[in-house]
Symmetry: C2
């Protein structure tokens, strides 16, 4: 799960820099909106998700529905967070195993307060993603000096 920040390579969009695991977690933890990819019997699905990360795991709420059913059937997931800045676009992908929490007393105050307010009529559970691997990449908008 470790590699250093590398020299820029090339992507379809231009130069691409691989981010270290530490830098990838730092960027992922700085955001609270991402995309969750699931797969049931070979059919992928995708959901936008509000999340909280302490830099080691990822936490979100799920109501009873398609997302939760698919997670229980196949807990292998991919989770992606990205951001657009004037100079570059970065993207961090975590491959993880999803776990429905039986007891939300373990949650920190930070986790409870960061996740968006819930409508009380809905039943929900907390889902934790236990990471297996992380990969962060930064796509530069401009060619670095000396490359052309």
């Amino acid at each position: 799960m470790s590699h250093d920040v590398s020299e820029p390579g090339w992507s379809p969009q231009g130069p691409v820099v691989e981010l270290s695991d530490e830098e990838s977690w730092k960027r992922l933890s700085s955001k609270n909106f991402g995309h969750l990819a699931l797969s049931t019997r070979g059919r992928p699905d995708i959901f936008p998700v509000n999340y909280y990360s302490d830099g080691r795991t990822i936490l979100f709420r799920s109501s009873k529905g398609a997302k939760l059913n698919e997670l229980v059937e196949n807990p292998h997931v991919a989770f992606e967070v990205d951001a657009d800045t004037p100079d570059n676009v970065w993207s961090v992908v975590v491959h993880a195993t999803a776990k429905v929490l039986k007891d939300d007393l373990v949650l920190s105050v930070a986790a409870r307060e960061t996740l968006p307010a819930w409508i009380p009529v809905e039943e929900f559970v907390y889902v934790s993603l236990e990471p297996n691997s992380i990969r962060g990449r930064l796509f530069e908008r401009h060619l670095p000096i000396g490359r052309i």
Copy 2:
């Protein structure tokens, strides 16, 4: 593949409105950045993608790499586009079959000009998503008048 705009239901984040297929395609076609979910042998993966849509199919470029290999192994994909506005968040998900185009002469000028500039050293192909279903949802930030 058709349902009308419904009365708001409830989601974990608040009231949710189902969008018609026409409205979903209109919103999807108004953007050019989305997320593609793939699945290989039960393991989902996710990629941020610049795309072009003419309101019936979705088109993007892919270089030779993980994304393309996974697409060829299992062409079933999910593609999601969303946007954040002051009043609401909307999200459109298309379940589709990916097809690598053998001949890019079929592409319209609009498609060529909308997709971001490519670095000429990279080899790439065009991938088209043939939709099987579309679902659009709009999450309201505020409770509608009369609901509380």
